[in-house]
């Protein structure tokens, strides 16, 4: 579920960064406003707890696989949405920095997918209405499972949309969606079960722990600021995408042509078909759109290197070979610089 930098475009990554940074700033102000210093170590240790709990698995009966706690929902139940959002964001930041789990530019996407949905959608809109004040029994379990499933479904949908908008991966929207959503349905049920079990245990042995966590103080806020933030983010996204569209036409035009192509394919009323057929249709289809790949850069080289300036996809062999040679050589030069710097560093230190 953690997205990598390699799969998103700067427009998508930057927009999601701005959105998540805004949410973090807002949550940080809220948490500061509570004036409860106790929350500070509590949030840190709870974040560490989520890390630790993810190392411990339980077996899922009858499947041979195992599951563990996801973290977003249980943190929200224990700490309230704002503190939980900060804790989730910090967990993801540490994962990105120290474990290379999720990218730096993708951090905005990851924080939004895994933090915003459980803390500000699944918890206030699903868990609270169903569970109320109960933390044990059927209703609490149902609430946890439904909320976990909903949170993860939204998160997985976010991943698919962000990947699609970035236009780096070749996966068709529908196929990717059909892979991600069912997998995360299963993961969501498991997370919901684990969350409910842990919450029930804590409610039984330490009822005051849940009652006294500042969740109550922080939980009941209106969603209006969040919605306003989303609106701003949407506006930003539109503006940002337009800006990139003018400066870098390749990626976006590509994805748009692909998306429109998709629509027409679906609109033709042909039912489900195999991926092979879809590939065929696409390859026959895209040239109609005057689609050119992101090869605008080597184009001058192409015209100078040889007569290969025919219709796409005829790329002259000379261009790509010189590209490969040059790539290898610059890689070696970069490595050599590093090596020399290292030797230089050794002699001076």
């Amino acid at each position: 579920m953690h997205m990598a930098d390699a799969l998103i475009s700067p427009a998508v990554g930057g927009t999601m960064w701005a959105t998540s940074a805004g949410l973090i700033a807002w949550c940080a102000r809220k948490v500061k406003g509570v004036c409860d210093d106790r929350l500070v170590p509590m949030m840190g240790v709870m974040g560490a707890f989520i890390f630790a709990s993810q190392m411990i698995n339980f077996s899922i009966p009858g499947t041979g696989s195992s599951g563990h706690l996801g973290g977003g929902l249980i943190l929200t139940i224990l700490l309230g949405p704002h503190a939980a959002f900060l804790a989730i964001a910090s967990v993801l930041t540490v994962q990105a920095l120290f474990f290379a789990d999720g990218g730096l530019l993708a951090l905005g996407c990851n924080v939004f997918n895994l933090g915003f949905f459980p803390a500000f959608v699944a918890y206030p809109l699903i868990y609270r209405p169903i569970a109320g004040a109960r933390r044990a029994g059927g209703r609490a379990w149902t609430a946890a499972i439904v909320a976990a499933v909903a949170g993860l479904q939204l998160g997985a949908f976010g991943v698919v949309v962000e990947t699609k908008l970035s236009g780096i991966s070749e996966l068709p929207f529908g196929t990717f969606l059909m892979v991600m959503q069912p997998i995360h349905l299963a993961i969501g049920v498991v997370e919901g079960l684990a969350t409910a079990a842990v919450v029930e245990f804590v409610a039984r042995v330490r009822p005051e722990a849940i009652a006294t966590t500042p969740a109550a103080a922080l939980g009941q806020r209106s969603l209006r600021p969040v919605l306003a933030g989303l609106l701003v983010a949407a506006a930003l996204a539109g503006g940002g995408l337009n800006w990139f569209a003018s400066s870098h036409p390749d990626g976006l035009e590509w994805s748009i042509s692909k998306l429109t192509g998709k629509e027409e394919l679906e609109g033709s009323g042909d039912g489900p078909r195999g991926p092979a057929a879809r590939i065929q249709e696409k390859t026959a289809f895209l040239p109609d759109y005057g689609f050119r790949p992101a090869e605008s850069k080597p184009a001058p080289a192409e015209s100078s290197a040889g007569p290969g300036a025919g219709p796409w996809p005829a790329v002259s062999a000379g261009t790509s070979v010189s590209g490969i040679v040059g790539g290898l050589i610059t890689l070696i030069v970069a490595g050599l610089i590093g090596y020399l710097l290292k030797r230089g560093g050794r002699t001076t230190t």
């Binding site: 953690h2 990598a4 930098d5 390699a6 700067p10 940080a28 210093d37 500070v40 170590p41 509590m42 840190g44 240790v45 709870m46 560490a48 707890f49 890390f51 630790a52 709990s53 411990i56 698995n57 339980f58 077996s59 967990v91 540490v94 920095l97 474990f99 290379a100 789990d101 730096l104 991966s169 070749e170 684990a194 079990a197 842990v198 245990f201 804590v202 042995v205 330490r206 991926p275 696409k282 790949p293 992101a294 850069k297 080597p298 996809p313 790329v315 790509s320 070979v321 010189s322 590209g323 490969i324 040679v325 040059g326 790539g327 050589i329 890689l331 030069v333 970069a334 290292k342 230190t349």
Partner: protein, 257 residues
């Protein structure tokens, strides 16, 4: 990682802000390349290589960390060669489809960004990194949260693994925990973590904690730091605008004539 951050080298001495800004610019530059680009990305390897070399970081160790994180990018990228079959280039008689180019591009981007991020952390250390982030305007509750998380992650992790080992020793034959045991065990871990948070809070309050962790080392950035950030950003901009690899390759293949 912690030991690496505490080492001393010219790179370690660069202000954390300069390194954060340079790395952010680096990631942005890598991301902004068109999707089929492979060779033009190569010059950018200079940045992580330089950090690793000057910072005296163990390259093998960092590479292993990059490899561990690779499967997700691999999973999403591997479909490109299957789905995008337009031939785009030739190596000898073999036509290479666009999908392979974009797949290679994804993997190169991945290696670049992940190695740069790891190198940044390894040559800065969490404390300087957090101080830098705070000075760059990250809200202080979040910085405090990061520091706490990092400090207690290992403590609680060890505690969890101890409890897991105890549970495993009492349940011979079972490969993983049963669900009931899991709920109880994690619940206990949670209660213990909460108690620990209370103890930490009390001991911090008795030492004058007021919700703010004060980070020292607040010196102004020197000319070295400014030069570091500006120099690298200029290099990234240069490598982004001109295809250095293409240039070198053409120059070489033309050389003899």
């Amino acid at each position: 990682m912690d030991d690496l951050g505490r080492m001393d080298s010219p790179i370690h001495r660069i202000d954390a802000r300069a390194k954060i800004i340079a790395t952010a610019a680096f990631v942005l530059a890598v991301m902004s390349f068109p999707r089929y680009e492979v060779s033009a990305l190569m010059p950018l390897f200079a940045y992580p290589f330089a950090l690793i070399a000057v910072g005296n970081l163990p390259a093998g160790y960092l590479l292993k960390k990059v490899a561990v994180a690779a499967p997700f990018a691999l999973f999403v990228g591997i479909f490109n060669p299957l789905l995008d079959r337009q031939p785009m280039g030739m190596i000898g008689p073999v036509a290479i489809s666009g999908g392979w180019f974009s797949f290679a591009s994804i993997m190169v981007r991945f290696t670049l960004t992940v190695s740069a991020a790891l190198a940044l952390v390894a040559c800065t250390g969490i404390h300087r990194l957090c101080a830098g982030l705070k000075m760059l305007g990250l809200p202080s509750p979040f910085v405090v949260q990061l520091l706490f998380l990092y400090r207690y992650f290992f403590v609680i992790g060890d505690e969890g693994l101890r409890m897991l080992r105890a549970a495993e020793m009492r349940s011979t034959g079972a490969r993983t925990l049963a669900f009931q045991t899991y709920g109880t065990l994690i619940g206990h871990l949670l209660v213990r973590s909460m108690d620990r948070a209370q103890r930490i809070y009390r001991s911090m309050v008795s030492r004058g904690f007021d919700g703010e962790v004060r980070l020292l080392r607040r010196e102004a950035p020197g000319w070295r730091d400014v030069a570091f950030a500006c120099g690298w950003i200029a290099f990234f901009a240069f490598a982004r605008s001109w295809d250095l690899a293409e240039f070198v390759g053409r120059w070489l293949s033309r050389g003899p004539s």
